[in-house]
């Protein structure tokens, strides 16, 4: 066996082939890794060592119609905890330095347990510089704790506006699941009100800084000298239709009251003031909101979280009498010569419907001026339920106004179908309809609907969808974009409107129910109302517009449990109208021409 010799040719061959074979394998593998798969490995290598640091963009600012700041931003420190590396023994120290109750950190961590424990949780927003200084001194003993600089909503501009502005909060898991491409966990998102509706304008673009980190995640420096970094783009600033002075007067008037105010520019649908009282402090929501804060707000008997201005519904009382008047005039059921005699009430079948006074001879004008119930008991009977219902709906009742905040109720306008559905075909009587004539019964309207109703009288049937957004500045192009909703006309003759408008003028300026707010300067027209309240004292209501000849503002004021409309609601309406008109007259021309410039200045600085 030749092969079995020392160092035989055969053996040399085996060793040689093994060596060359291994080299071939190595070169092939190197070629495969470094040339064919190089891009994939490069990406992995970059992923390894390049850590993106996100910077939240400041949200857009809210300006009022005169470019005064309503809601701004301010820089703030946010303290965070990353559960994966955090030691719960530190709770006590951190709670002490933050001045929160014991167990606070545990509660916050419990609230968002479902997120990955490697994601930092915001523990406290807007923490003081003292806390940050303490953190910096002790950082090495505080694993899993860090802080970031953020901008935070600043509500220190004199008005609260809680229900219209809405608030922002950390994106909840269920929303995050659907918008993973747009948001990261821990991002704020608009919640309620204008913040929600215009979230996409307001949020801006997050900035990304790419930093090089070593295997221990320690930052070494910038990646590619920051070439790939993306700068933050601030959200678009919104110019709202709100008038800061009018809103401020409204808020002042409702300091110790419950109720709502909605004021609208009748020709454009622009909302001048919007208030639901009591309000809640939006600044509380700018911090990390604990479950206690929520519980407290939700359990408060005054229901501060409830948006009364567009969500509370009630029977509008006498303010609704103009529906019957318009319907009857428009359908030719009555004319200005039509008159009845008010003997203090109306007998229908075996029921007697009362009036507040004995008005004697009443025609349509005085029926509104003096708010005679008897006139409307009989009139609505003449008009008939469904025709009446049709007119109520024409004025926007029973359906949502499509205002640009998500919180809105539609209310109820009864009709034959409605009663049949609720009570069964024979379960209700014509007596039900009689109450509707004076705005009582199963009629449910919102203050917002009443304001829009007033606007339609102000502008004789023409208006636009009520809205908050006048325009916005596109931060990317620095252009001001104006938003104009389409106007509409409810198609009722000017003749009918003229009759009713004149009557409304007399309510304040004649011998009517609201002469206490008569003002030659303001020329207010309106109608008082008292909404029956099954739970307590009646609600005081006033709707109106001014000035009579060229209305600039239409308003609805609801004061809960305040009794007659003229005594409480009407003076508040007057004050708001005054705040808007008197200043508005002075500044209006200047505003229109200087609008864009002013607004740019305020954004720049």
């Amino acid at each position: 066996m030749d092969d079995n010799n020392f160092g035989s040719y055969f053996r040399r061959r085996i060793i040689f082939v093994m060596m060359i074979g291994f080299f071939a394998i190595c070169i092939t593998q190197l070629f495969n890794m470094q040339i064919l798969k190089q891009p994939a490995y490069s990406e992995k290598s970059d992923e390894n060592s390049v850590k993106p640091i996100y910077q939240t963009a400041p949200r857009g600012i809210f300006f009022d119609r005169n470019h005064k700041v309503l809601v701004g931003n301010k820089p703030s420190f946010t303290l965070r905890i990353t559960p994966s590396t955090y030691d719960k023994k530190l709770n006590l120290y951190i709670e002490a330095i933050l001045g929160t109750s014991p167990g606070y950190i545990d509660r916050i961590l419990k609230q968002n347990e479902s997120y990955s424990k490697f994601i930092p949780r915001k523990i406290a927003k807007d923490v003081s510089f003292k806390v940050i200084a303490w953190y910096e001194e002790n950082a090495s003993k505080l694993p899993g704790v860090d802080y970031i600089m953020e901008t935070q909503r600043d509500y220190s501009f004199g008005i609260m506006g809680s229900h219209m502005f809405g608030y922002t909060k950390e994106i909840p898991m269920e929303i995050y699941q659907h918008r993973k491409n747009e948001y990261d966990i821990g991002d704020d998102i608009g919640f309620g009100g204008i913040e929600k509706t215009y979230e996409d304008y307001l949020r801006g673009d997050k900035g990304i800084k790419y930093m090089l980190v070593d295997a221990k995640q320690k930052t070494i420096g910038k990646y590619k000298n920051g070439e790939e970094d993306q700068t933050t783009v601030k959200g678009d600033d919104l110019i709202l239709t709100i008038d800061k002075e009018a809103q401020s007067v409204a808020e002042e008037a409702f300091k110790d009251k419950r109720g709502a105010v909605v004021a609208i520019d009748p020709s454009t649908g622009e909302i001048i003031a919007f208030l639901s009282a009591p309000q809640y402090n939006l600044q509380d929501f700018a911090k990390v909101t604990t479950n206690e804060v929520w519980r407290e707000l939700n359990n408060n008997p005054n229901k501060p979280m409830f948006n009364r201005a567009s969500m509370s519904t009630f029977a509008p009382g006498s303010t609704f009498k103009m529906i019957s008047a318009i319907a009857a005039l428009e359908e030719g059921i009555i004319d200005t010569n039509y008159r009845i005699t008010c003997g203090g009430g109306y007998q229908f079948g075996d029921r007697y419907f009362k009036c507040l006074h004995v008005h004697g001879t009443v025609e349509v004008e005085t029926s509104i001026e003096k708010s005679c119930n008897t006139f409307y008991y009989s009139l609505v009977n003449k008009i008939g339920l469904d025709l009446w219902s049709k007119y109520a709906k024409k004025f926007g009742f029973g359906s949502k106004s499509r205002i640009d905040i998500p919180e809105e109720a539609a209310g109820i306008v009864p009709s034959t179908d409605y009663y049949n559905k609720v009570y069964g075909k024979n379960g209700w009587t014509k007596g039900f309809v009689i109450s509707l004539g004076i705005g009582q019964g199963e009629l449910n309207v919102t203050p917002l609907q009443l304001a829009q109703y007033a606007a339609l009288f102000a502008n004789s049937g023409k208006s636009a969808r009520p809205h908050f957004l006048k325009g916005y500045t596109d931060t990317r192009t620095n252009q001001y974009v104006e938003v104009k909703p389409q106007t509409y006309d409810i198609g009722i003759s000017k003749k009918s409107f003229d009759i009713v408008r004149r009557a409304m003028y007399l309510v304040v300026n004649g011998a009517g129910t609201a002469t206490n707010i008569k003002s030659d300067e303001l020329q207010i027209s309106g109608k008082t109302g008292t909404a029956q309240n099954p739970h307590g004292k009646e609600h005081s209501l006033f709707i109106g517009f001014a000035p009579f000849n060229n209305p600039k503002i239409a308003i609805a004021v609801l004061v809960e449990n305040a009794g007659f409309g003229s005594t409480v609601a009407a003076p508040i309406a007057r004050d708001i109208i005054k705040a808007y008109l008197i200043k508005g007259n002075k500044e209006e021309n200047k505003n229109l021409t200087a609008a864009t410039n002013v607004q740019e200045e305020q954004i720049e600085h």
């Binding site: 035989s8 190197l30 190089q38 490995y41 060592s49 295997a215």
Partner: protein, 415 residues
């Protein structure tokens, strides 16, 4: 005669000193120094390694030239004392050694450490070469095979106790290669290799173990040896399997993990698999030209722990790219092919076995280390000759090249 020889030396350096080995070696050492510098400068704990390696290099080159100048006859007489001295040190290190990364394989002398297993490489190669060429040894005699295996097996066991898996494997490869080269028959080779095969199979579970044993039985039928021999071989194999199973259980957890991670790399991505993955990423992301010296982010951001030792090759892969990686491999190939050629020109069997031993040693280190860096073999802690940081390894490698060069120098002389 003497005059003529001296003239030859003066005029033909290559005739006495093989530049085809020396120059690639020096280039590899330079590559190693660059890579060590790149992976340790500004490093919190290892920033002095470059300077240390420079000192090691100077010492190793001096040692190389000393070995080169010694009389050749000396090496044969060194074999027995050096081998037993090695065994003594291997035993001693288990008692007084320093534990580094879970293995007791170092003597601490001042600021430097020494690995007796490096010395044992030289001792074992010399001893095996001496034993296998002593008088008329019959390598196909079972007893002679047994003694040859024992010479390799004793240091292997001692090194396994440290424990240092990688080095044990290298010793096993050297022992088997030298026995193979000495002209063992196919059946002899079968006896030597089959236990290893069974052990490897047993790593994959009981079924693989049984299947391997069945293959052994089939092979025994094929060789048609007498019943006694066949049964002996079978029992050796069977007990090897059980012995390994027992040995696996006494392995240190990090070694068990390494074996498991080889069998299923995705099982432990952040443990022993982490280094292998990061090394692949480093090499792959290097691309054709590399990211440039000191510009590899995997290396500079210290993604690969202890990169200057076993993962030195991925520094080159990342910073010098495909070109640098292939150049390093080509330099190794040059040295190996040259050693291979020299083995044919050496004048006696002892010298031939030494060269083959050195070649096997360097090649197995190279193959296991590069294979690990490229992700084609398991993660076994072995340095890359001439490049990895480490004084003992560089010193012994250079001494062994010195012996080979000495043999080359004396190839034409008759004793």
């Amino acid at each position: 005669m003497y005059r003529r020889n001296r003239l030859n030396i003066n005029y033909k350096l290559q005739d006495r000193f093989d530049l085809a080995i020396f120059i690639p070696t020096v280039v590899l050492i330079i590559f190693g120094l660059l890579a060590i510098y790149s992976s340790t400068f500004n490093h919190p704990t290892a920033s002095g390694n470059f300077q240390k390696q420079l000192i090691f290099t100077v010492v190793a080159i001096i040692a190389f030239f000393i070995t080169f100048s010694l009389p050749q006859q000396l090496f044969k007489s060194f074999a027995i004392p050096l081998f037993f001295a090695s065994l003594f040190f291997l035993l001693a290190v288990l008692v007084v050694g320093k534990t580094v990364y879970g293995a007791k394989s170092w003597f601490g002398i001042g600021g430097f450490g020494f690995q007796p297993s490096e010395l044992a490489k030289l001792g074992t190669i010399l001893m095996l070469a001496y034993w296998l060429t002593y008088k008329s040894r019959d390598i196909n005699n079972l007893l002679d095979i047994g003694v040859a295996l024992a010479i390799g097996f004793v240091p292997i066991m001692l090194i396994m106790l440290e424990p240092d898996m990688g080095t044990s494997i290298v010793f096993a490869i050297i022992t088997i290669s030298l026995i193979f080269w000495s002209g063992i028959s196919l059946f002899g080779l079968f006896i030597v290799l089959s236990p290893g095969f069974v052990v490897f199979a047993s790593l994959f579970g009981v079924y693989a173990f049984v299947a391997a044993l069945l293959l052994i039985v089939a092979a025994l039928f094929f060789f048609k040896r007498d019943l006694f021999n066949s049964i002996t071989v079978f029992i050796i194999n069977l007990s090897a399997g059980f012995f390994f199973d027992y040995a696996f259980k006494i392995l240190k957890p990090h070694q068990q993990k390494r074996i498991a991670s080889f069998l299923d790399p995705s099982a432990d991505p952040l443990g022993s698999g982490y280094n292998a993955l990061q090394a692949k990423v480093a090499i792959g992301s290097g691309g054709f030209f590399g990211k440039g010296f000191l510009h590899g982010n995997q290396t500079q951001l210290r993604y690969i722990p202890q990169q200057w030792t076993d993962f030195i090759y991925c520094v080159i892969g990342e910073e010098f790219g495909f070109i640098g990686s292939v150049l390093v491999i080509a330099l190794f190939l040059t040295i190996f092919l040259r050693l291979f050629k020299l083995s044919a020109t050496a004048k006696d069997k002892f010298s031939v076995l030494i060269i083959i031993g050195v070649l096997t040693l360097l090649f197995s280190h190279f193959a296991i280390n590069i294979g690990m860096n490229l992700g084609i073999t398991p993660v076994v802690g072995l340095p890359l000759p001439f490049l990895s940081y480490g004084g003992s390894s560089l010193l012994i490698n250079m001494v062994m090249l010195g012996i080979v060069m000495n043999i080359y120098k004396n190839r034409k002389l008759h004793t």
